[in-house]
């Protein structure tokens, strides 16, 4: 129902404070003709994909360690992983501003140690700082599903592979990795979908060059006061995300069939 309303509104036109309620594709024409929207949408997709890859790659060895190497106190490790995420999301993001800022922890720390005379300016307010912050903020969402799928793997399969003469590395590539793919896929989606629309992180640590599509949508509903155009941009973003997710699922499905 709310989706339907969003879809309808995207075909209306904003005039001052009112909507003109006749069907119009003006907003979509605007979207396609002004290169900035498509550019930022693609940039958001690229950044979120990068965040997803980084988060999942960093999380996998951690989940692997808890699932296979920790014999007792697995719960303690899992709690250790989730504890940092009990702080508010806003404050977790803000923590990176404290870390990377002009007078932040890294700069002022290095300065008081005498290692630096001028603060490094490239740390904050760019796409990289957004990617680092998001990879940190969503870490638990990647570790937990991967851990669950690793934990489910029947240990005798690994022993069988070893007994049949595979070395540890090939056992991992041919047994553990394929069997843990459902967890990797779930983790990727859990990180990718919310981060595409995030506007908190880009507006706190992104600066002008780190803007994402969420910031544009938010400004259409705030300062820019053009709800229908905002709705049209949202519809296009959702279509793109759905398309990306479908492509990803199709790709992983084929990949799993090939190695099976």
């Amino acid at each position: 129902m709310p989706m339907l309303v969003l879809f309808t509104l995207s075909f209306w036109i904003q005039e001052y404070l009112d909507f003109i309620r006749t069907f119009s594709i003006k907003n979509y024409l605007d979207f396609f003709q002004k290169p900035i929207y498509i550019k930022i949408l693609f940039k958001s997709i690229r950044m979120s994909s990068l965040v997803t890859v980084v988060t999942v790659l960093l999380a996998y060895p951690m989940a692997y360690y808890i699932a296979f190497r920790v014999k007792r106190n697995k719960l303690v490790w899992l709690i250790l992983i989730t504890v940092p995420f009990w702080t508010s999301y806003l404050l977790r993001v803000f923590a990176w501003k404290i870390m990377l800022g002009y007078n932040g922890v890294i700069n002022s720390g290095l300065k008081s140690l005498g290692l630096l005379s001028e603060p490094l300016e490239f740390l904050l307010y760019n796409p990289t700082s957004v990617v680092i912050t998001l990879a940190h903020a969503w870490a638990a969402f990647a570790i937990l599903p991967i851990y669950v799928s690793l934990e489910k793997i029947d240990r005798s399969l690994l022993e069988a592979a070893r007994d049949l003469g595979e070395n540890p590395f090939m056992t991992f590539v041919r047994v553990t990795l394929p069997l843990s793919l459902p967890g990797v896929i779930a983790a990727s989606l859990l990180v990718f979908i919310p981060t595409v629309g995030d506007y908190v992180t880009p507006s706190l640590v992104g600066g002008p060059s780190g803007i994402m599509i969420g910031n544009i949508i938010q400004s259409m509903f705030g300062k820019a006061q053009n709800w229908p155009l905002g709705a049209a941009i949202s519809v296009m973003s959702m279509l793109t995300v759905t398309l990306m997710v479908s492509l990803f699922l199709w790709g992983t499905h084929n990949f799993r069939r090939r190695i099976a």
């Binding site: 309303v5 509104l9 709690i79 504890v83 508010s88 720390g109 629309g197 908190v200 905002g230």
Partner: protein
């Protein structure tokens, strides 16, 4: 698999795990550190130890009001989401009806769309219906967001127990309501507690929906967001973050303690 490595040959994965923990803890630990620092500016070198930011936190009416609003909304959302989730989980696990699959996936939709899209859709809907924005609209949006989580938790709990227990109670002459109260409810209780805790946490920390759907009454995340722009307000916010962190630590420990007690009771009662 070898797990006992000699100490002179360190385990690569262990080192990685420790580095990873440093990565996820380090930024977050600076928040409480600077909340005890006697300076408005969040920068090294540290000045002396102070508790004044905690005093300032307790004495700022806007902050306390926002905290109170968040608790109000969170409690209502947790209770209603768990009740609705319980009803939905019960009908999904106990009755096989047509359109069950599509219905479940329909309720799960809020989980798979970016929150900002949900937020603006609801904003349009609410403004077109001429409903004024208030804490109620925030609560309503949080309810939509939380029901899927309640359902997921409760469905997995309900699928775990034997339907014949309920049937036995009915055969022995209990009415459906008493059957629910005396058989179903005690068994799903851990799921209910988990659902209450999780949905309260989600609502308490939720920013995007609240940002679009709030009027003048702020919830805590909105208050934090507006304070982040004023450097003088930040240390008190850090104090607040540290306090919430300590409180949630005790709540989670308590919940875990309750859960373990529940498990023990179950295993000693001989079921």
């Amino acid at each position: 698999m070898k797990s006992n490595h000699p100490w002179w040959k360190p385990d690569g994965l262990l080192i990685y795990a420790i580095l990873y923990l440093v990565f996820i803890y380090l930024p977050v630990l600076f928040l409480p550190l600077f909340s005890f620092n006697n300076s408005t500016y969040i920068t090294f070198p540290l000045k002396d130890f102070t508790l004044k930011w905690y005093a300032k936190m307790i004495n700022s009416p806007g902050l306390l009001e926002a905290l109170f609003n968040s608790i109000k909304v969170g409690l209502l959302v947790a209770i209603f989401s768990t009740i609705l989730g319980l009803l939905a989980a019960k009908s999904v696990t106990r009755y096989r009806f047509k359109g069950r699959g599509p219905l479940v996936s329909f309720i799960m939709i809020p989980l798979v769309i970016p929150e900002i899209i949900l937020a603006i859709s609801l904003l349009i809907l609410i403004s077109q219906a001429n409903i004024p924005l208030s804490l109620w609209t925030i609560g309503f949006s949080h309810l939509l967001l939380c029901i899927p989580f309640s359902m997921l938790i409760l469905i997995s709990r309900m699928e775990g127990f034997d339907k014949s227990l309920e049937e036995a109670a009915l055969d022995l002459g209990e009415n459906p309501w008493m059957t629910f109260w005396r058989v179903t409810f005690p068994i799903v209780l851990p799921g209910i507690v988990a659902s209450l805790l999780l949905t309260f946490t989600i609502s308490f920390d939720e920013f995007v929906l609240a940002f679009f759907l709030s009027s003048t009454d702020a919830t805590l995340p909105i208050y934090i967001w507006s304070s982040l722009r004023f450097p003088t307000k930040i240390p008190a916010i850090l104090a607040l973050g540290a306090s919430i962190f300590v409180i949630s630590f005790f709540v989670v420990t308590f919940a875990e303690w309750v859960r373990r007690r529940g498990v023990k009771l179950e295993s000693t009662s001989g079921i």
